[in-house]
């Protein structure tokens, strides 16, 4: 793999993982600050252990039990759904039809929910803190695992993809430990737009390719131009998203809430 592709793989997994880690950190911080640091950290640790077990089992099953085309179809479909969800939010935010994601606001909402929840103790832990931290870290972590597996397998270098994700995790954890509040300065909305485009591109490529599992012999479908089709897909999703950013406000019906002015950051 050339140095350009290496950096591309690192950047892709780093950016995607950074966003997921920031979201997980916001949830854990909200539980720790408002209820119990110990329970929130135990929930995080148990989620990390569960993630390791999930990765080993899923990785083994995917690589050893599924034919290549079925693997492409399964992972491609998941990536496509993740990517299009991210892209949908990015388009709605860029066009001013949805408020920008704000980690400070997310933190306030999580903290308020934590304050209002009842206090139940199990195994010596504040159960609400434990469960919310576990779910938050596991849910965001599984997305990171899928992203690492997909980009890693595609570039034939899973360790490098895992390294990109680990670097993002270390940076987010380090920053969280220092500031002890949500990382609001991370350009999360812009990152999500870029990552949504990448996931939609790889997801479309793999999911459609993997449909070949249904024909005799189970051979993957062949994209015209092979891997170069990825660039065409990326350009296509980018062009479509910019078109939708311009067109959707004109199609929107008036809502009870005011339309939010488009963000210069998102437009950039």
């Amino acid at each position: 793999m050339g140095s350009g592709a290496t950096w591309g793989l690192l950047t892709a997994t780093f950016a995607a993982s950074l966003v997921e880690f920031v979201e997980a950190l916001t949830i854990v911080l909200a539980m720790g600050v408002t209820r119990s640091w110990r329970s929130a950290l135990v929930g995080t640790a148990v989620a990390v252990l569960a993630l390791v077990a999930f990765t080993i089992v899923a990785g083994y099953a995917l690589v050893n039990w599924l034919p290549e085309s079925a693997l492409q179809l399964a992972i491609g479909t998941l990536l496509l759904i993740f990517g299009l969800q991210w892209l949908r939010k990015a388009i709605l935010r860029s066009s001013g039809l949805k408020a920008l994601h704000d980690e400070e606001q997310e933190f306030r909402e999580q903290s308020e929910a934590a304050r209002q929840a009842g206090r139940e103790e199990r195994f010596g832990l504040d159960w609400f803190s434990f469960v919310v931290s576990f779910k938050g870290v596991f849910l965001e972590g599984v997305e990171v695992v899928f992203i690492v597996i997909t980009f890693g397998l595609n570039a034939d270098n899973v360790p490098l993809a895992a390294g990109g994700a680990a670097a993002a995790g270390v940076i987010v954890l380090g920053a969280g430990a220092i500031v002890h509040r949500p990382l609001a300065n991370v350009p999360e909305n812009t990152l999500k737009y870029g990552v949504g485009l990448m996931l939609a591109t790889f997801g479309t490529f793999w999911a459609v390719e993997g449909l070949g599992v249904l024909r005799d012999g189970g051979e993957s479908l062949e994209w015209p131009g092979g891997d170069w089709a990825l660039l065409v897909l990326l350009a296509g999703w980018l062009a479509l998203s910019r078109l939708l950013v311009r067109a959707l406000p004109g199609l929107a019906r008036p809502r009870r809430t005011a339309v939010i002015p488009p963000s210069p950051v998102e437009e950039a």
């Binding site: 759904i81 479908l221 479509l240 406000p249 199609l251």
Partner: protein, 70 residues
Amino acid sequence: MAFVRGFGRFWYDFIVGDDWKIAAGVVAALGITAVLVANEAFGDSALIVIGAAGIVAGFVTSLVVDVRRP
């Protein structure tokens, strides 16, 4: 029972996410293309174009439905 409900909810949140229409659009596009692939109705290139166009159509439809909802 609460565990099963929570388990199901977790995987629904993980796979389907905030907008079920996106997942439905992807599954519909891939499902239609899968039928064509299984019946070997077209060559690879045509099937690829049909699959990709279906995904795009499902995505655009779900966004337009979202913003047209009063």
